[in-house]
Every structure is written in C-alpha cells, then in structure tokens.
Symmetry: C3
C-alpha cells in the first residue's frame, strides 16, 4: 500500500488489506488523526483491487472511542465537525465494495463499539468486550447508537446505552453484534477463514450487492423492492453475472473478469 | 380448488389451502411459469374462504431460487420484468388475509430463501437449510435480501449475503428466520399444529391485522401509531370485534360471522 | 409524590419513582381512568428530579390490556380517542428523560404487553408471560404490534400476533422483548439492581440520549446520523459533559450538577 500512516499499520497480504489500529499505548483512541487515517485507509482499500479488508488493533484494547483530550472545552461547531468526520469514517467503511471484518481482540468502547457495529462482519476473541459508556458518564453515546441500535434489538441496545456497562463477546454474539467468538489464539485464523468465505465469487457483483444492502435496509419495504429490482436487473448485465449463470448451466467453474470497481458503473 | 396448475399441486384440506411446489426434478426452481402459478394460487387462496395457507414443496429441495436458464443472456429490462413478477409473488403472499406458513423440508436457495423470509411464519425440518448463494457467485441476491434482511439481524444477514453459505435449520430458528425446527417426520404435523394456533378467532379481524402489521412495521413509530389507531378503531366496528368483546364480558365462547374478506372494507 | 391516584400507587423511594398498577381484582385492566393515571404519573415523574422509574403491578396479573367493558358498543371515533389516549401513555413513557423499567410479575396481555415493549427496559419473574391475544379473538392487537413488532424479530412478532398465545419469560428474554428473567422472589431486587446500573452518570445527559435514541432509531441511517450529530454536539456543551471529560482526563470522579431537565434545552 506504500502510504505512510502514523497511527495505523496497513499491510496487504495476498488479496486482503489488513488495517491495524496501532496506538496501543493510547488504547487506539480515535484522535482526529486516527479518524483521518482510518478513513483514508478504507477509501484507498476501496479503490484498490483487494477483495477484502480486516480492521484489527494492536494492544490490549481494540479501540477506546473518542479522545476526550480532543473534545473537552471545544465549541459545539467543532464537536460537530469532529462527529461529522467520525461519521464519514463509519460510512466509508460501509461504502467500499469489499467485505470488511472487524477483528476484535479487546475492549471496544463508544465509537470503538460503533466501528464493530458498522463493519459488515465482526469476529471477536473470547476476551473481547463491548460498551457504550457515555450512559454512565456525562456525554451519552448518541452517534454510536445509530450503528449499535441498528445491529441488535432495541431493549438490548437501550441496556448498553443507558447502563454503559460492557457486554462479553458471548453476549455480543448471541445479540447479533458480532458474528463469531473464538479463543484469543484463534482470532486471526478464524477471521481469515470468514474472510475467505465472504470473498469468493465476483468482487464486482459483491460490491454492487453490499452497496445495495445498506441502501435498502432502512427503507419501507415497497421502496426497497423498487430500488433492489433496479439494482439487480442492472447487475445481471455485467460480464461476471452472465458468466456465473452460463457456467452454472454448463456445469463448470466460473471465471470472473470484471474489474472490482464495476460496482460504481452498473448499467 | 379445481384450477389446473402445471408446476404446483394445490389442495384444499378442510379450511386450509396446501400449495405444493411440485417440480422436484427441477428442484422447484422459480421459472416464470412457477412464479405465475404461485402468485395465482395465493391470489385465489386470498379470495377464498380458507382460513390458512401452507406453502410446501415436493422432493429433496424446497426451492432452488431463480432459474438461470430463464435469466442468462436476457436484457436488463427483461430481468427487471422477471424480478417485478417475483416481487409481486412475494408481496401477494403478504397481502392475502390468511396466515401463510412456509413448510420447509430441504434447501431453500436465493429467492427460495426469500419465500421463507416472506411467509408470515415458517416451520422447517431438521434437514432443511437456507442460503442466498449469489454472494459467492456473480449475481448478488439483492432482492432476496430485502426480505431476509428484514427478518434477521444485520450482521447475520450480511454473513448470509456475502458468503452465500447455507445455514442450518437450527441456526435459522435461533436467528428468527423461521419459527420452529422439527424432525423430518414431524414436519407436516408441526406445521398443521402451528396453523391451527394461528387460525383461531375471526378470519376477518386477522386479515385486517396482518395487512396492518406489514403496512406499519417499516414506518417511523409515530406514523405507525397514527395509522394503527385508524385501522384498529375501524376494525373495532366489525361484527366479529363486537362479538369478541361481548362474549368475553358475558363469559361465553364467541361465534364469528364476518365474511373473511371484510378485511378490505373496514369502516 | 403526594398526588392521589385511584388505580395507581405511586411511591418515591430515594431517587426512584415506583408506579404500581394497583387494581389487582380487575387484573390491572387499562380502563380510561388507569390510562389517564399512568400518563399523569409518568408525566409528573418526567418533570421531577427522580432519576429512574419502575412500572410494577400488584396481584397475579401484570396488566390485562384494554377493558372490553370500555370498548364494546362504542363508535369508531370513540375507540379512536381511547387508542389515542393509550398511545399517548406509551409515548409519554418513552418521552420522559429517566430510564423506565417494566417490572413484570405475571401475565402481560395486549396493551399490557405493549407497555412492556414500550418501556426502555424490562425485568420479569420466571412466572411472567406475554401475549397479544387479539389474534385468536375478534379484535387484532394492531396498536400493540407497533411496539412489540419493533422490539422482537418479525417472524416472532407475527407468531405472537396471529396466534395470540402467550410466551414464557424465558422465551421473551431470548427474543429480546425483556432484558432479564429472575425467580419471583428476586424480582424487585433484580429490577432495582438494573435501575442502579442505568441511573449512574448525569441525568441530564441521559435524558438527551434517551430522547435521541427513539428519535433516530426508525429513520434511514443517513438521516439518523445527521440528527444524532446535531444532538450530540449540542449535548457536549452542557456542564455535565464537560465535567465528565475533564474528570476523565484528570483521573478523578466527576460530579454532575446539571438540572435533570436540561434535556429539553440543549444548546
């Protein structure tokens, strides 16, 4: 990937881009700098020919959320700008065509928990935990709850939001906040195994599908169908879609050739 | 029911209409013909005085989804027409006043999985499985995810959509995609038992209620309440509603007399 | 609290307001009078400096829902008025700044089940059960399903709605309708323990956060973020928010001073 980051380590391993939050001594707190770097790293990953992205973290904490040193004493409009940048980071993760997995090795707090809720998928170590602690402090986790509240049930979201207490990885899995829990020493293997499962097939087709999922899921069902029909009919015309159908009918393995970014130019 | 179908077997058993997808040798793939017949069979069931509908299937596969022989090589506008017809089939199932149960004995794939997500309720054999395989191919299951994504949590929906892998009946039940899992040899009995539970009471009242549930569930809560109040106040005026209240107050069993289709003419 | 209620018992215990539905001989059925009193009690609790509210009930039944004696034989417009008042009761519970826990010791039926779904959180005795019985009668629980349908999955909501059958407290917990199940003799202690967990921190901040959660959760995600950013940036300016950040940075316990009702005057 080549670009230098201060608080991130970004590696390309085969077709995967590994983005590591790499300020363990600061518990990977979301400084303005880290938010900017994560956004940039995901935007670049989205433009690359990689087929999947993993967002991991170094150190005992996955991500401690917002940096109060950045936020204390500043005016409303500056908090607003900070939250807008944080939101752009979240929406960038959902906007790139590749599947994104949060690989969570420790505590994910506030906007760090929002990162987990925002990633398409999440795998966590048994040691991981998740909280939105503003509820027991003085600044409620209102923007994190946009993501967390759409991922788990309402009563459970309110319990996290109002109590601020951490839930275990097992609870997070049973509530649907994450996809899988594994022993700490299997975390990378399990995450890579899931990534392999979700990066098969045509990257171009998958990029169209991921975009459409987020675009339709909050809509009224009839609007969602109108939109989804339009998208899927367009997507059926790309070479990879035709290849998948013809290969199936000819009982042979398909070969996908579309450039991954076809996702933005559906017919 | 009398009407002849080519790919369906439709039986009336007491007050229940059994619709069997009956092309086991073609894995009940959703050809244009089958889509048309299912839509017709549900529309006719909706107009009948039956009180419940079961959508079952013959053979080892419940429904293999779209027929690539129908879709390969055709233009966008023709795919669009096909998906519109498929969507009309789905919305017809939700629009009829009777409870509809998908009775799933084998694999439900793509739009076949969408049928399960779309039915009001679903019971599956332990052998059943569920997948949206476009994610590992070249044509993402975008329209199926409208239904599947509204039925299970977001992370789980994305795992199904992006991986294309099948989930077991037990997993489907724990995620809320289906209501119940039973041994294969108990599938019909369990489905009939559930149908009996959901067809008690006034069919007219139930038809109004089912319609209103789907109409309100994607709305903003305040809009949903405005609408639900209007519906329920109207529904309180039908003879069956009055009978249910009076019988309760008089501590006797109610006798319901409304024509089932009252559902479309609430005061 | 001082005000006299006929069908409620309202106590202030420390910082908690206990609202007891207290017509056990009438199974706490939601007469016009009880609806009015619950609405008043919650509105007063919302204006008070209490930090949390528990909605409990006396007798073997938590709440039997609407009173058919109130509803039988009346015109549509009068049913509409009754349902509007009932809906105002529900929205008042969600509109007050304090966390509200339903403490459920017995059967919660129809609009009684809606009360449980509407409360921010719910704890139930092992003996409790939950149903929306209109589905097996003549008047479908259409307004209750606005709340219940937003709290549990769609298939499970339809099973409750169409069958009218009761689910156990364990099932309710696994579906996310309630937060916790405990033995009957631990119900009050467990509810108080949960209330303590959700009433830590700044009441002013929590009130803003609770309001924003309900306002954003049904919106399309991008609208939800626009709104949530505005709210959270404003909320960051209140004294308690600044205090929480400064105390964190200074590694000391925060002291919150905002009047609880700051929630309505965010900058």
């Amino acid at each position: 990937v080549g670009k230098e980051f201060e608080s991130l380590q970004v590696d390309r391993v085969g077709d995967t881009i590994m983005i590591w939050m790499n300020r363990p001594e600061r518990r990977n707190v979301l400084t303005r700098g880290l938010i900017k770097e994560i956004t940039t790293a995901f935007a670049e990953a989205g433009d690359s020919d990689a087929t999947g992205v993993i967002l991991g973290a170094r150190g005992p904490v996955y991500c401690a959320g917002h940096d109060f040193a950045d936020m204390a004493g500043i005016e409303k409009r500056d908090v607003q700008r900070l939250l807008e940048k944080c939101t752009r980071m979240m929406t960038t993760i959902q906007s790139i065509p590749q599947p994104v997995i949060a690989m969570v090795q420790g505590l994910a707090t506030g906007a760090g928990c929002q990162l987990v809720a925002t990633a398409d998928l999440a795998v966590a170590s048994e040691d991981a935990a998740f909280c939105t602690p503003g509820g027991k402090g003085g600044l409620f986790c209102t923007t994190p709850m946009v993501a967390v509240g759409r991922t788990i049930g309402r009563k459970r979201a309110l319990e996290m939001a109002l109590s601020g207490d951490a839930i275990s990885a097992d609870t997070a899995a049973s509530w649907g906040l994450i996809n899988e829990v594994v022993p700490a020493n299997e975390l990378e293997d399990a995450t890579n195994a899931l990534l392999r499962r979700v990066t098969r097939g045509s990257p171009a087709s998958k990029g169209i599908g991921k975009h459409a999922f987020y675009a339709q899921i909050d809509q009224v069902q009839s609007d969602a169908y109108d939109y989804a029909i339009e998208v899927m009919a367009g997507a059926s015309q790309i070479a990879d879609a035709q290849e998948s159908m013809v290969a199936f009918l000819e009982k042979r393995q398909p070969t996908y050739v579309e450039a991954p970014r076809t996702s933005t130019v559906i017919p």
